[in-house]
């Protein structure tokens, strides 16, 4: 599952995800009829609109079929399918196996090391921002652990890591002052680490933080988890 944001803006993240999956020997399908999982209207409280979108998603990804394995480079979309749908459709059970991308690599495929080196001249100092939707999925620090095995990156801990980036989907538009305030806090914490690269597993967070960074003309590079793995050869 590509996700709306990668469909609209960040195709490279989708490409990186597919490349990584293929590198570990997965056969990847991309149902072109896919659109959205229905999370935006769900979060906004318009569950009727969300159900319509979600029902389509159920069909496209054959979520009733235990043999389907759905992988998405976004904890927020994975959480929607696993938790949100349970609220939208109390009488329905998810049969397919749905994974957030990092979760799939580590928990499903048992990959604990990523042999490869970032193609840079100098090791780069980086921080990882844990996307909030990973909480409900109990992802913990699995992304950081896997990334920690990639050569050419010096990982530094992000203080107050439990704090959200402030995006929150439509929240960022309805509550811009609060949303940017939270985002600036996050960036202030990033700044204390001296990191040159900010990595996360969710393009929602990264889009938001990227927007704030570019307004500040910050040189900090923003990368998705999948892009780092894809780049490491």
């Amino acid at each position: 599952m590509l996700t709306c944001l990668c469909d609209a803006f960040y195709g490279e993240v989708g490409i990186a995800t597919v490349e990584v999956l293929q590198r570990i020997g997965c056969r990847v399908e991309f149902p072109a009829e896919q659109t959205c999982c229905g999370q935006p209207p769900f979060n906004a409280g318009d569950w009727a609109a969300s159900r319509a979108v979600a029902e389509r998603c159920r069909t496209v990804f054959e979520l009733d079929d235990p043999a389907s394995v759905v992988v998405t480079p976004s904890s927020s979309c994975a959480a929607m399918l696993r938790e949100g749908y349970a609220m939208l459709f109390p009488d329905w059970t998810l049969r397919a196996q749905v994974f957030e991308f990092g979760e799939f690599l580590v928990r499903h495929r048992g990959i604990v090391e990523w042999p490869g080196r970032l193609r840079r001249e100098e090791p780069i100092r980086a921080v990882y921002h844990r996307a909030c939707h990973g909480r409900g999925l109990h992802l913990g620090d699995l992304h950081e652990r896997l990334l920690g095995t990639v050569e050419g990156i010096e990982w530094v801990g992000l203080p107050q890591a439990e704090q959200c980036c402030g995006f929150g989907g439509a929240f960022s538009a309805t509550h811009p002052k609060v949303s940017t305030g939270i985002g600036m806090e996050k960036l202030a914490q990033v700044a204390t680490t001296g990191a040159e690269m900010l990595v996360s597993g969710d393009m929602g967070c990264l889009m938001h933080l990227k927007g704030l960074l570019s307004r500040q003309h910050s040189p900090i590079e923003v990368r998705h988890f999948a892009q780092v793995l894809a780049e490491a050869q």
């Binding site: 229905g38 906004a44 318009d46 319509a52 704090q163 960022s172 538009a173 609060v178 940017t180």
Partner: protein
């Protein structure tokens, strides 16, 4: 698009307030983690167990309340029932009128339940002088302010604010030293404890099996207020019960650790009733007023688990939105994530349901909650409920979005238009773009890449 209230509040907030709130909150988050880590071998199972016990209490609430009433009555504690704020206030006033002179001082220990029912104004209206004795609550009271945090009421004020208020009230010479300010308050409130005829507190736990009232605090004002005056009245929500004292260690440690990062609060007061004949001191009467005020309705609805809450405030401390807007933005005695659910659950979503939208749904609150209340899920349900009730303006035409997402063709067309749409002037876009660059397509399109390679 009209500006949501929480957002409007954030825009008007002074920078120092955000700094005060942020610094104090971050410190509490850090100490919570280290203390709970030491206090419990496995904090996860401790939280699960606490949630289970609270659920059991909610399931058996009626029986436990009656059991408490029987046991407490046997201890000469007088139990009263109040279905709403007005009734609770009336019971307090009746007791005050019976035992105290007009104009008498009522010593108030910190209590969210009495904030909830607006007891101070009821007492003042009847000619009594309620005085808050918790340092923070005292400052709030003399400033005519409201608490902005359920545990640390003046998290929004700094020492200069307190210093100015104390000089104004004649507590002593101007000082910005927190220790000296505290001693000024100590001296002032000593007289209150000596003179008060009635002391009013809340209750942290009420033990069904033993009929005891359990109060926790750090300052000692609670012990004074419940010990020195002739009469002690505890106002408590009906959900405050625990089956027995065996559950107390778990809850006391979770509460202290979650609230203030302590292993145990300085004082845990187990009140067994009025003084015995030969006791040198202690109150002659002890009353418990059980407050419903919408709780039985909540108990039967979809926000039932919110009644597990032990008011530790951990969800406020960790909440990124709370840190940006402070407690007053929630416009209710219960602020932060707990308030965003409890306030509309108690008062109705038409009154204050907008709070549910003032959240990124990051889930930090649920992660720290000692009784594992699924706050984000409840915020979503509140949003759904508000939408179905036709409340609140639709910010975004989701029906149209659903049509778009209902067809691959329309969806792809929409996606192609998006990078253009961001140039169009829209209210939403303008808000977004004030501080951020709008996103643009970066690099290749996935769909084109996929099509080309297959």
């Amino acid at each position: 698009m009209s500006v949501p209230k929480v957002e409007a509040f954030a825009r008007a907030l002074r920078g120092e307030v955000v700094t005060s709130v942020r610094t104090a909150s971050a410190a509490k988050v850090a100490s919570r983690v280290s203390t709970l880590g030491e206090a419990f071998d496995d904090i996860e199972s401790a939280r699960t167990e606490a949630a289970r016990i609270k659920d059991e209490v909610l399931d058996r609430l009626r029986d436990l309340l009656l059991e408490f009433e029987a046991r407490a009555t046997a201890r000469r504690i007088q139990v009263h029932w109040a279905s709403d704020a007005a009734e609770a206030n009336r019971v307090v006033l009746e007791i005050c009128r019976r035992v105290a002179e007009p104009g008498a001082i009522v010593a108030k220990a910190k209590s969210m339940a009495t904030e909830e029912i607006g007891l101070n104004s009821a007492l003042e209206g009847a000619g009594f002088r309620p005085i808050e004795t918790d340092l923070g609550e005292y400052v709030v009271q003399i400033d005519g302010d409201h608490p902005s945090h359920i545990v640390t009421p003046i998290i929004h004020k700094n020492r200069v604010d307190v210093a100015r208020s104390f000089v104004r009230e004649g507590l002593g010479p101007y000082t910005e030293d927190p220790a000296e300010l505290t001693m000024q308050a100590r001296a002032k409130l000593r007289d209150v404890f000596r003179q008060a005829s009635v002391g009013v507190s809340g209750a942290n736990f009420l033990i069904a099996e033993t009929g005891r009232i359990v109060l926790v605090e750090n300052e000692g004002n609670n012990r004074f207020s419940t010990t020195a005056p002739r009469v002690h009245i505890a106002v408590a929500g009906i959900e405050k019960l625990l089956p027995s004292e065996r559950e107390l260690p778990l809850f006391l440690k979770l509460l202290a650790g979650s609230a203030t990062g302590q292993r145990l609060t300085t004082y845990v007061h187990l009140i067994s009733g009025p003084r015995e004949a030969n006791d040198p001191d202690g109150p002659e009467e002890v009353h418990v007023i059980f407050l419903d005020n919408g709780r039985t309705r909540v108990l039967e609805g979809r926000y039932r688990e919110i009644l597990r809450c032990i008011r530790c405030g951990a969800c406020l401390n960790v909440c990124p939105v709370y840190r940006q807007v402070s407690g007053h933005a929630y416009r209710h005695v219960y602020s932060g994530p707990i308030g965003a659910v409890l306030a509309p659950a108690l008062e109705g979503i038409d009154a204050i349901g907008d709070l549910a939208k003032a959240s990124t749904l990051c889930g930090a609150c649920e992660e720290v909650c000692p009784v594992k209340i699924p706050i984000p899920r409840m915020l979503l349900e509140l949003r759904d409920e508000a939408a179905r009730a036709g409340l609140g303006k639709r910010d975004i035409p989701w029906k149209r979005f659903a049509t778009l997402a209902g067809s691959e063709l329309l969806w792809r067309a929409g996606l192609t238009l998006l990078p253009i749409a961001r140039k169009l002037p829209s209210a939403l876009g303008r808000e977004w773009a004030q501080k951020r660059e709008m996103p643009m397509r970066e690099g290749r399109s996935f769909r084109e890449w996929w099509r080309e390679r297959s």
